[in-house]
């Protein structure tokens, strides 16, 4: 079928803020789909509340609404834009749920809008547990014995029949929110209660536990004519029991014979056919390890994280093809863009192995439980490609940037073997290292398999790596053959050096002497059967290189930002992609190096050449040796790219933009202090230290509170406010868990207004698109603060000072490109907190709300253009007529045991935007986009630390005026009552019932405001309150500044008639 001629204007719904379980993969899918629709001449109207995405750019869609993703807002957009269709299957679960609601309520029909692609009936069949089960029964596809329950009693009755352990899965939630495995009645009741509350329809699936089976996934496509293909299958190294998002995944499957492979493939096609999917679909199976028995775990009738992975793993652009199918095309009418010869109606053949590893946030939540379950916890992932599994695994390990470049995890060296044995039983993020250590200790593969259920094949491959380590360790001279084999398995020089006790440089020289170099192969979807037109490369050490270098072209290498983690998110991908586009426009040949399969930057048609590789000095050098780029851009790829600056210079690659010395000057305390002094810019007093002893001396000299942080980090990693010696000792211990190459900074902490500025500098002039102000006072990480543009509470005089300081700093640091500066305004004085001569988290946000494309401008500047020549007047730009509020979004409910109170260490996973000509409405939209939709029950808990007690009175008064019933613990209650606020006392957690906990678990509380005392949280009470509130879905605020903002938004907004802002018109 050719394209449906009635489709002219399509609403695409995005996935909203990045949260655990719904991350950058939907920006990738959405961006690809929007481009694919526009290629067909279709007008695309985009709705997504996430300003950090590429899809919300005016380059990607015709109309862009960065508005809260609620059914009401989508309805309003539809009424305004009058589209003929909605495409709901590219924005993850969030988009699908909204589309379903609009369809079910008859709204779409009423407005003559059709759902493109998969129908709502199909979506319901796949998503509704009961209907899904019925459908599977009809086509004889087995599911684990299960029952959908809507209350505890029915749940317990069913468990009576099938016995423990039991898996629970709430219907219509993302990333398996609220799911889990219960081994006894107590666990069962707890998880079930939580699940029933989280499910949009109050349903939870209770099923037989198939933990330990092989977990296999198929990515399937189907068109309207009924043609079905599988793009790829994947096998999880971690057996069933660990969420696939947290599992180590390999593609294609490795341990399935053709019989099993085809059995499951046919089942996947049966399912997609019966469901009537039109587009992409993901089917997850559990396969019994020693029989042909299998069961269907789950079907996602949309593009998903797995489909992003499958796209990158095979080169098959699933989202693009899904969009074309939605328009009416059949698979055999859609060209395969990689080969240009074949069509989308074929199945990719891989001639390499792909390994995906999750990036888990336990470095941020050091006290949280590291146990991996069916509840996803990863914030991001890396993918690696190699000709062998060992190599792919080794590359993935170092791509994670978690201070581990191999399977050697130093902490295990001193543990007794019994303990290692015991640790094999733990299912957490370190299991792969434990398996390696167990093999080193001589525990047999069989025994490891019996405990972990990890397939022997994988254990044997891990053993190959362990044996190679051993060989290197025990052989005095590294022969050419040994070196060749170690490199084939992708041992980095650094690790070989570490094992052999030599220097990395010696190993490199030896290797070069042997003539052993990385070569590059092409990912072409077809195992070389057809010639590929798209240069998408991966490295290996056992073959000839396929890279053809054009010496005549000026080439620039753009270094990406690696896996999405807290503190380094999708915003850096936005910057990398935009920079690449600008460089392409300027006629350069662009080379992207990155390893994140979820991102737009690793799509095959963004850069001229894509290297899917770890971002370490050695891996980059291997590429540089072949490509010999004329320059590299590091300022857009976050800390990952910045860290490579020195190495690139050593390789002789010029860094475009701000020089490395000046990047250093901004980070080096002494150099930076000199610059500040020269510019007469004050900063909080501070010292640099290495040891805990020095830190204690510095803190006492400066006087508490002090801010403690390592230099050269992003997202305030390891940054804390210390109020006592005890805090200092604890923080220094945490920071020094990893060897620090750079000193730790101890600064006097000033509790003032935090201001942030991004600017472009061309060496002479600067351009400041706008000044942003944080709602929360200094002390809360800028990424976790609500950011307001234009700044509201500072005077024009202060703004001039900010502009002046920015210019002075940019000039003194000789910035060419982007600079981000954080200031504190304290008692009418402006202090500098830190300067980052690179792109920042706020760049996409400020670009979109001011309409000034600063990445584009910065890229042009670093290639020699001047601000004045690009049509801009230097200096601070006039303020926009819109208020734009960037609101942090957290994923605390996903991480059991994580402390949620905010501080200088960043904890948010994403952000959303509220934009309006009215400040209060902008604020309201920002909260709404974050899922704070109040009031509901008009009951709240207010309990604050002593220093906040007076401030709490005003908060109490305002909430009372809104009709809220306030519950407070004794001391807060007394202060409130004394000041005329009618709060009710409630017992603390450790006191008898009814206490705070009972109140929270009653599910009638809208909001908890709980400000913890600064420094290390010593009160268990507060922690329990906050965790329970988060886990029961209650909004928790830990800063009174945020509470004020929420009040402002609630007091004066007309929630039913929100204005809509089309960003593309700014």
């Amino acid at each position: 079928m050719p394209k449906n001629p009635h489709v002219k204007k399509v609403v695409v719904i995005g996935s909203g803020p990045i949260v655990i379980g719904q991350a950058a993969e939907f920006d990738y899918a959405g961006t690809q789909a929007c481009r694919s629709l526009r290629e067909e001449g279709i007008c695309v109207v985009l709705i997504n509340s996430n300003p950090a995405t590429i899809m919300t750019d005016k380059d990607i869609a015709d109309k862009v609404y960065i508005e809260p993703l609620t059914p009401e807002v989508v309805k309003a957009v539809i009424k305004k834009e009058k589209p003929d269709s909605v495409l709901p299957t590219l924005g993850g679960q969030a988009a699908l749920n909204i589309a379903m609601e609009l369809e079910e309520s008859g709204f779409l029909k009423e407005h003559n809008v059709r759902l493109l692609g998969t129908s709502s009936k199909t979506i319901k069949k796949a998503e509704d547990r009961l209907e899904f089960k019925k459908t599977m029964e009809k086509i004889h596809e087995p599911c684990a014995p299960s029952e959908v329950v809507t209350n505890i009693k029915d749940g317990l009755a069913f468990v009576e029949k099938i016995g423990y352990p039991i898996v629970l899965r709430p219907a219509y939630t993302l990333g398996g929110s609220g799911g889990g495995i219960a081994h006894n009645e107590e666990e069962f009741v707890e998880i079930l209660m939580n699940g029933l509350r989280l499910s949009r329809v109050g349903q939870v699936l209770v099923e037989r536990c198939i933990a330990g089976w092989k977990e296999i996934e198929y990515e399937v496509m189907r068109d309207a004519n009924g043609t079905c293909i599988t793009v790829c299958n994947m096998e999880n190294l971690d057996p069933v029991g660990v969420h696939t998002g947290d599992s180590i995944v390999v593609a294609p499957s490795q341990t399935l014979a053709d019989k099993e492979y085809q059995m499951l493939r046919s089942a996947a096609l049966n399912i997609i056919t019966e469901l009537g999917i039109q587009g992409g679909c993901n089917v997850q199976f559990a396969l019994h390890p020693t029989t042909f028995e299998y069961c269907v775990i789950e079907v996602n009738p949309r593009v998903s994280r797995s489909s992003a992975l499958a796209s990158k793993a095979t080169g098959y652009p699933i989202a693009k093809v899904a969009a074309k199918i939605a328009l009416g095309y059949n698979l055999d009418e859609i060209k395969n863009a990689i080969t240009g010869k074949t069509y989308a109606s074929f199945e990719p053949a891989l001639d390499y192995v792909v390994v995906k590893m999750p990036r888990l946030p336990f470095d941020k939540f050091i006290k949280a439980s590291r146990k991996l379950t069916t509840q996803m916890k990863a914030t991001g992932e890396v993918m690696s490609i190699c000709t062998n599994f060992e190599g792919a695994l080794m590359k993935a390990l170092r791509s994670l940037e978690q201070h581990v470049d191999s399977l050697i995890y130093e902490n295990y060296n001193d543990l007794p073997t019994e303990e290692i044995h015991e640790m094999l039983h733990r299912i957490d993020d370190r299991r792969i290292f434990v398996i390696a250590e167990a093999l080193r200790r001589g525990i047999s593969a069989e025994e490891i398999h019996d405990i972990t259920k990890v397939d022997i094949w994988f254990i044997d491959k891990i053993n190959n790596i362990v044996q190679e380590e051993k060989l290197l360790r025990e052989t005095p001279e590294i022969t050419k053959e040994m070196m060749q084999e170690a490199k084939r398995m992708e041992f980095p020089d650094k690790v070989i050096a570490q094992i052999t006790g030599k220097k990395e440089k010696e190993i490199k020289e030896l290797r070069y002497g042997y003539g052993i170099h990385a070569s590059y192969k092409i990912v072409d979807t077809c195992a070389a059967e057809f010639e590929a037109e798209t240069p998408y490369y991966y490295s290996c050490y056992d073959g000839e290189s396929e890279v053809e270098v054009d010496e005549n072209k000026k080439k620039i290498m753009v270094l990406g930002s690696g896996p999405i983690r807290i503190g380094q998110g999708i915003e850096f991908d936005y910057c990398s992609v935009h920079s690449t586009w600008t460089l392409k426009n300027k006629g350069y040949e662009t080379i992207i190096v990155n390893n994140n399969p979820e991102t737009v930057s690793t799509d095959f048609d963004i850069a001229d050449r894509l290297y899917f590789e770890p971002l370490t000095a050695e891996d980059v050098e291997s590429i540089v040796n072949i490509e010999k780029p004329d320059g590299a851009v590091v300022q857009f790829g976050g800390q990952t790219a910045i860290k490579l600056t020195e190495a690139l210079l050593e390789m002789g690659v010029p860094i475009l933009g701000t020089s490395a010395e000046n990047v250093d000057a901004a980070e080096d305390r002494e150099l930076f202090d000199e610059i500040l002094e020269k510019c007469c810019i004050p900063r909080a007093a501070g010292k640099t230290v290495f040891t805990a002893k020095e830190a204690l001396e510095a803190a006492n000299e400066l006087g508490y509170p002090v801010l403690v942080r390592p230099s050269y980090v992003l997202g305030g990693q390891g940054m804390q406010i210390a109020i006592s010696d005890k805090d200092i000792i604890e923080f220094m211990e945490i920071i020094n868990r990893h060897e620090q190459e750079h000193p730790v900074l101890v600064d006097k902490y000033l509790m003032g207004k935090e201001i942030e500025v991004d600017a472009v500098c061309d060496g002479q002039d600067i351009l400041i698109p706008g000044i942003m102000e944080h709602i929360e006072r200094a002390g809360i990480h800028s990424g976790d603060s609500i950011s307001v543009y234009p700044a509201q509470t500072i005077t024009p005089k202060i703004k001039r000072v900010l502009e002046d300081y920015t210019k002075k700093l940019a000039n003194s640091l000789h910035v060419i490109g982007l600079i981000n500066i954080q200031f504190i305004v304290y008692q009418d004085e402006v202090y500098v907190i830190e300067v980052n001569p690179r792109s920042s988290r706020t760049v996409p946000y400020i670009s979109k709300v001011t309409g000034i494309p600063i990445v584009d401008l910065a890229t042009r500047v670093i290639t020699g253009e001047k601000i004045k020549d690009m049509g801009y007047t230097p200096g601070l730009q006039p303020e926009s007529e819109y208020f734009a509020i960037k609101m942090p979004v957290f994923s605390f409910e996903k991480i059991r045991g994580a402390e949620i109170s905010l501080g200088p260490e960043m904890k948010s996973t994403g952000e959303c935007l509220g934009i309006s000509k009215n400040y209060n409405e902008a604020l309201f939209k920002a909260f709404l986009g974050n899922g704070v939709n109040l009031p509901k029950y008009k009951k709240m808990i207010l309990t604050v630390k002593d220093s906040d007690k007076l401030d709490a009175v005003e908060i109490g008064q305002r909430f009372t005026a809104l009709g809220y019933e306030i519950y407070s613990t004794r001391s807060t209650c007394r202060v409130l009552n004394e000041n005329g606020v009618p709060a009710k006392p409630i017992n603390k957690v450790e006191e008898p019932s009814p206490n705070l906990l009972d109140l929270i678990l009653s599910h009638e509380i809208d909001l908890v405001i709980d400000t913890p005392s600064q420094g290390v949280e010593h009160s268990k009470d507060g922690f329990i309150i906050r965790r329970n509130a988060i886990e029961t879905g209650v909004t928790v605020l830990t800063s009174l500044d945020t509470a004020h903002a929420l009040l402002t938004s609630l007091e004066s907004s007309d929630r039913h008639n929100l204005s809509l802002v089309d960003i593309s018109e700014i």
Binding site: A257, D258, D455, C526
Partner: protein, 357 residues
């Protein structure tokens, strides 16, 4: 031990010897299936060929003997990047390496299979030698490679005597041109009573057994070498007995009807080939293994029309003979290895036999 793969164009790959160390000369082809190496190893259509598996990790799940497509492997040589030392699968009985040794099949591993594949793709299928002789004289080897010819290999792989497999349903005569076990299995699963005949069995003998249907199977080599069989097929075609033909059978039936076949540059070998059903427009993913193809322009449109085409290169993948109960396909509906998507063609064959009863 070192092993060398020498191509007739002078390319030499050095690798490690696996399996037998016997020197062999054969045609060199590549297969892109990611699973099913045992089915490929034992498919009689690969007689006279050495197969380079493009997927780099081969032997992961060992040898599950029930998956064999013939009693023994038929390939001359097996070319892989990495052979699993320790297979893992609940059905595995041994490793690929020991299987190769047992069956005296020459193998070579640790070569850049992608580089080899690209040579074959660009220059076309060629002949080559696998040897463990480190002191080989390249010119001499190339001379010997060039002198080698595959010959009429169907006669090597076909059964020597007719074999019967009982069933209650239709009586199917299978003409064994190198039959894969799964073709017989697909018929037996549908209740057929199957008799397998040697390739050159006279048509009269088959007709005398009064089958309800005739199945022409897959097989190795150049279709035009099967002069005698083609003559017999002409006689079978002249009867009203429904015929279903796969791969070489499909080519022989076309030749029997005056069409021509030609050697393809590098053939279709893999489990991901899209074929389009021209009746419905639906595309199926199929297993393929052929180096020759029916020339479309030589097909007499008064006698026959294409029923399936390949989506990638538009070559003929199936023929429907007008006014006849005869269906032929170039691909492998019996799968093994590969997708089961077109297994319904066996059901259609059952219908063809039902209708003509």
């Amino acid at each position: 031990m070192k092993a060398f793969l020498i191509l007739e164009d002078g390319h030499v790959f050095e690798g490690k010897s696996v399996g037998s160390t016997k020197e062999i000369i054969s045609e060199i082809v590549f297969n892109t299936s990611m699973t099913g190496y045992l089915e490929v190893l034992t498919d009689p259509s690969y007689a006279g060929q050495s197969v380079c598996m493009t997927y780099p990790l081969i032997g992961n799940y060992g040898i599950c003997k029930e998956d064999m497509e013939a009693e023994r492997p038929w390939q001359s040589g097996f070319i892989v990047r990495e052979l699993a030392k320790r297979p893992s699968n609940f059905r595995s009985e041994e490793s690929v390496e020991s299987f190769l040794i047992e069956n005296d099949i020459t193998g070579i591993e640790a070569i850049d299979t992608r580089a080899l594949t690209k040579i074959l793709r660009d220059k076309g299928t060629m002949k080559g030698m696998i040897t463990t002789d480190e002191n080989f004289d390249k010119d001499d080897c190339i001379k010997r490679i060039k002198a080698w010819s595959m010959g009429h290999v169907v006669l090597d792989v076909t059964c020597k005597e007719k074999m019967s497999f009982p069933g209650d349903g239709y009586k199917v005569a299978v003409i064994d041109l190198g039959v894969k076990k799964n073709i017989v299995r697909c018929l037996l699963e549908r209740g057929c009573s199957v008799t397998v005949y040697p390739a050159e069995t006279p048509a009269e003998e088959i007709i005398a057994d009064a089958p309800d249907g005739i199945m022409l199977t897959n097989g190795p080599g150049d279709p035009k070498d099967n002069v005698k069989t083609i003559e017999e097929i002409k006689k079978l075609f002249a009867t009203k007995i429904p015929i279903f033909a796969i791969c070489l059978g499909h080519q022989l039936l076309a030749l029997a009807n005056g069409a021509d076949t030609q050697k393809m540059k590098y053939g279709h070998r893999g489990a991901n080939h899209p074929v389009k059903d021209l009746k419905t427009g639906k595309v199926y993913i199929s297993t393929q293994n052929h180096g020759y193809v029916v020339k479309e322009e030589t097909l007499d449109r008064d006698i026959a029309e294409p029923s399936f085409i390949n989506v990638n290169d538009k070559t003929i993948e199936g023929v429907h003979y007008l006014g006849k109960n005869v269906q032929t396909v170039q691909f492998h509906p019996e799968a093994c290895a590969g997708p089961l998507d077109t297994g319904f063609l066996f059901d259609e064959f059952m219908n063809m036999m039902e209708v003509s009863k």
